[in-house]
């Protein structure tokens, strides 16, 4: 009885799963990574590291809340390890919030830089991936922020908040990105991050100002073909894309009244359905977007007491959105290779046998040639606490 127990106990000492004991004050909590191209064509990795003592509530905000370290390497992994030359603690990426990929890097392909973030066991693949437009990622990560003193946190929450309430950007986590890149008949998009002013001039003193000169914001969606960035969707088109892909949680659309003036309509629910059908051998797509919403604010003479006015608004909305979506699709189809809506995937799923013949030339001209019918439905439910405008 005693002997087997003893043997198990001894075995325990050798079968350890957790050999890497590290105290909390021996790790460098990394909240954001930035990946750029280095001068010699390799990777330049920047890591935003939290300084815990500066964040804790007891000590004031005198110290810098985060530090940014940079290192070059032929692989991203090498660069991260090289950082130990500057950082006294081991980089701990378990709580990574944000991965910023520089545009230059993204245009050459992101597959290679993503590998380490999937392979490393310490990482959880639920962080958001964004592309920094026009600037290297390291500059974006060097901008200090107020409200949340950790910039990565701030960006993460901003992204979340914006995709919930405005829906022009999209929060895409690493595993969603990987699924998009690797799946057949669907290409990826990533949200762009930009800054007002020159990030190089950002300083901590700036945070003392009410309206800092350098601020970060999200806009536009980067369109990928396979793993390479091929272009950007503008603000309206980004929204159009989100309507088609069903990512709208809540947003606001402004429509013009027939007699001039505007009405803002809050979209509270939006569902989209992409259907494929075949006209002979050529595929056709049909997109149905069903919306529900409320009247948010009225700046024109429509009589809100009449049900007809609501119908008018509904048709106006439908017309406007149809236009936006059609424009988005046109824009996307002009870049032949990137099927960001997943039309190919829809065909693949509905008509797997026909997809086989389409597959080979889908990227070449299949996607750009497919005719798309857009149908938008709107149901305005409430008009708020006010009937007629003031």
């Amino acid at each position: 009885m005693k002997k087997p127990l003893l043997i198990i106990l001894i075995c325990c000492c050798f079968l350890t799963g957790c050999w890497d004991k590290r105290e909390l004050n021996e790790i460098a909590i990394t909240v954001a990574f930035g990946i750029d191209k280095s001068d010699d064509g390799g990777f330049r990795v920047s890591a935003q590291i939290v300084v815990p003592s500066a964040i804790s509530s007891t000590k004031g905000a005198e110290a810098t809340p985060v530090l940014l370290f940079q290192a070059d390497g032929e692989t991203a992994y090498e660069a991260i390890r090289k950082m130990t030359k500057q950082v006294p603690r081991k980089i701990y990426p378990g709580h990574l919030k944000l991965l910023v990929i520089g545009e230059e890097m993204a245009r050459e392909g992101i597959w290679d830089s993503l590998d380490i973030f999937v392979r490393d066991w310490e990482l959880r693949p639920d962080f958001s991936v964004v592309v920094s437009k026009d600037r290297p990622a390291s500059e974006i990560l060097a901008v200090p922020t107020a409200l949340d003193t950790i910039p990565a946190n701030k960006l993460f929450e901003m992204l979340e908040n914006s995709s919930d309430n405005w829906s022009a950007v999209q929060k895409i986590s690493l595993h969603e990105l990987l699924a998009d890149i690797s799946s057949e008949g669907k290409d990826a998009v990533l949200t762009g991050v930009m800054s007002t002013g020159d990030p190089g001039e950002a300083s901590k003193e700036m945070m003392g100002e009410i309206r800092p000169a350098v601020r970060l914001y999200f806009d536009n969606l980067a369109v990928f073909e396979k793993d390479r960035l091929v272009g950007w969707l503008g603000a309206e088109q980004s929204k159009g894309f989100n309507y088609v892909s069903g990512n709208i949680k809540s947003t606001v659309e402004t429509v013009s009244c027939p007699e001039g003036g505007n009405v803002a309509i809050e979209v509270t629910k939006s569902d989209s359905k992409i259907k494929a059908s075949f006209n002979g051998e050529s595929p056709e797509m049909e997109i149905t977007v069903k919306n529900k919403g409320n009247v948010g604010s009225v700046q024109c003479g429509l009589d809100m007491k009449k049900p007809e006015s609501l119908h008018t608004l509904e048709s106006l909305f439908e017309k406007k959105l149809t236009g936006t979506i059609e424009e988005t699709i046109k824009e996307a189809q002009s870049r032949r290779g990137s099927d960001i809506f997943g039309f190919g995937r829809t065909i693949h799923r509905s008509y797997p046998d026909k997809w086989k013949s389409l597959k080979s030339e889908w990227a070449d001209h299949g996607f750009s040639d497919v005719p798309v019918k857009v149908k938008v439905e709107m149901d305005i439910q409430m008009t708020g606490t006010l009937l007629n405008p003031l």
């Binding site: 198990i8 325990c12 004050n25 790790i27 815990p52 709580h95």
Partner: protein, 523 residues
């Protein structure tokens, strides 16, 4: 010491019988007792005839007032004329007559062996030896200074009876009998301890108790050959199934209501003279989470509190280990703001988390032990020092992180939730083991530790009953009184493995059907 031993052996070897001569007898007793100063030997002349007699008692253990009223007065003044044979010696039936008709005390015994007389004498009885008789009378009039029945100290309740056992075994049996007026409540007495001669009594309800358990208990008690039993703790160590285990396999309580409830479930109570703690066998693990109060408060509240106790048990045992594991091995399990906050607190702390936890836990254990053993009137001093040492000072000095103080305090408080003190010890010791294993192997280590602990618990038996029942082996009907407590009118059966001699506690109350329950399980 050696003299005594020789005397004792002399008594054993043939001189155990009394002689006819009073003087010889008295001398023998006195010498055997080493002429101890607290043994009073009074030589009197009985009645008008002046028959020589000796009265012996132990000063301090005997009620001298009743001795005067009922013995000396009767013998020396009120004694009627007695027949005297030639030679001034009384009739052969005199002793019998004394016992039957003259002595106005409740209980008189006759004995003719030195050893049993000594036994009675030292228990506080008075001996009456009459010249010419090779036998003595034992008059029980024990009385000594003792504690009154007070409120229980270690197992308090808010709503429920407030009496607790005392050091006097007679008072204790009376407290139990007052609750169970059942002719089947039987009481078995024996003396344990070759020198202390401590009275040990078994109480059980005949018909409910499992006879095999009772026989086993008797056998184990008979095997005890120690010289002295000073507390029920001695008995516990002699009769428990396994010596080396962290877990108590014998329940103890100072509450008569708890004993009565356990007797009704078919358990056996072991009362030891001189101890206000009564042992109860067989004891199960889940029993240590039950407080008598559970049955006196409303059912939902009791169930909630009981779940809280289980939670506290795990908190008290695992929280420091959990903290160590999570901060040194698995920081990715923490939400980011908490991680940053903990990391900020650890800035500048010179020790690893394991060391830190050890220092704090040890400091707390020392304080606790000191607070327990210290003279009462300087108790307040230690609480001030303690609060300063393990509280703010350690944190401010940067030796300990604030989170660790929270962890240790929570652990300590959770430990006090245990309604039975014994399980608290288990938790206190195991906690250190879990801390070490967590500091070496993280959660992996904690899991291994828990598996070993549960294996060990499942291997334990208390008088043949699996210690972890009714959880493993699982039993549905017993769940009514395990993690939660069912309403008392719904608890129809006794614990399956303990009360199997008579499993039905009450019949479901069905209106209109005659009550078919047997008389003894209904009360």
């Amino acid at each position: 010491m050696t003299d005594r031993k020789q005397d004792a052996s002399a008594v054993d070897s043939g001189r155990d019988r009394l002689q006819k001569s009073l003087q010889e007898n008295l001398l023998l007793l006195k010498v055997t007792l080493g002429e101890s100063s607290d043994i009073v030997c009074r030589e009197v002349a009985i009645g008008r005839e002046g028959i020589p007699a000796g009265i012996l008692y132990t000063d301090g253990l005997t009620d001298t007032a009743s001795l005067q009223d009922f013995l000396l007065e009767t013998l020396m003044i009120d004694l009627p004329e007695i027949e005297v044979r030639e030679g001034g010696q009384p009739d052969a039936a005199f002793l019998e007559e004394l016992k039957e008709r003259i002595l106005t005390v409740a209980e008189v015994q006759e004995s003719d062996t030195v050893s049993s007389l000594l036994d009675s004498l030292l228990s506080g009885d008075t001996l009456l030896l009459v010249d010419g008789f090779a036998a003595g009378l034992v008059i029980p009039n024990r009385k000594w200074a003792e504690r009154q029945v007070t409120e229980p100290n270690s197992q308090t309740v808010v709503r429920g009876p407030r009496d607790s056992f005392t050091e006097n075994i007679r008072v204790n049996t009376a407290l139990i009998r007052r609750r169970l007026k059942d002719p089947n409540l039987w009481n078995e007495s024996r003396k344990v301890g070759t020198r202390s001669g401590t009275e040990v009594e078994l109480m059980y309800i005949h018909g409910l108790v499992e006879e095999s358990v009772l026989d086993e208990l008797r056998r184990r008690l008979d095997l005890i050959k120690i010289d002295g039993i000073l507390s029920s703790g001695y008995i516990e160590e002699f009769i428990q199934d396994t010596d080396y285990t962290m877990f108590p396999t014998i329940y103890n309580t100072e509450r008569p209501d708890a004993v009565a409830a356990n007797l009704l479930e078919g358990r056996i109570a072991i009362l030891v003279d001189g101890t206000p703690f009564v042992l109860i066998v067989p004891a199960l693990f889940v029993q240590f989470f039950q407080s008598p109060e559970d049955y006196y408060q409303r059912v939902l509240f009791s169930s909630f509190i009981r779940l809280l106790r289980y939670a506290s048990f795990w908190i008290a045992m695992l929280l420091p280990a959990f903290y160590i594991a999570i901060t040194t091995f698995h920081p990715n399990m923490l939400p980011p703001p908490l991680l940053i906050s903990l990391a900020a607190q650890r800035e500048g702390v010179p020790f690893p988390a394991l060391m830190e936890a050890f220092i704090m836990e040890l400091a707390f254990e020392i304080l606790r032990e000191a607070g327990l053993r210290m003279p009462r009137n300087i108790g307040s001093a230690i609480s001030i020092v303690g609060a300063m040492v393990i509280g703010t000072a350690a944190v401010e000095a940067g030796i300990i992180s604030a989170a660790m103080v929270i962890v240790v305090s929570l652990t300590a408080i959770a430990n006090f939730v245990s309604p039975v003190y014994d399980l608290g010890f288990t938790v206190r010791i195991m906690r250190f083991g879990f801390m070490i294993i967590a500091g070496c192997f993280g959660f992996y280590g904690i899991m291994i530790g828990l598996i070993l602990m549960i294996l060990h618990m499942c291997s334990l038996r208390s008088f043949g009953v699996p210690y972890t029942s009714p959880l493993a082996p699982f039993n549905w009907s017993d769940q009514k009184d395990t993690m939660i407590r069912a309403p008392i009118p719904r608890m129809f059966r006794r614990p399956k493995l303990i009360g199997k001699a008579n499993p039905v506690r009450q019949q479901p109350a069905v209106p209109g059907t005659p009550d078919t329950d047997n008389s003894e399980s209904k009360r």
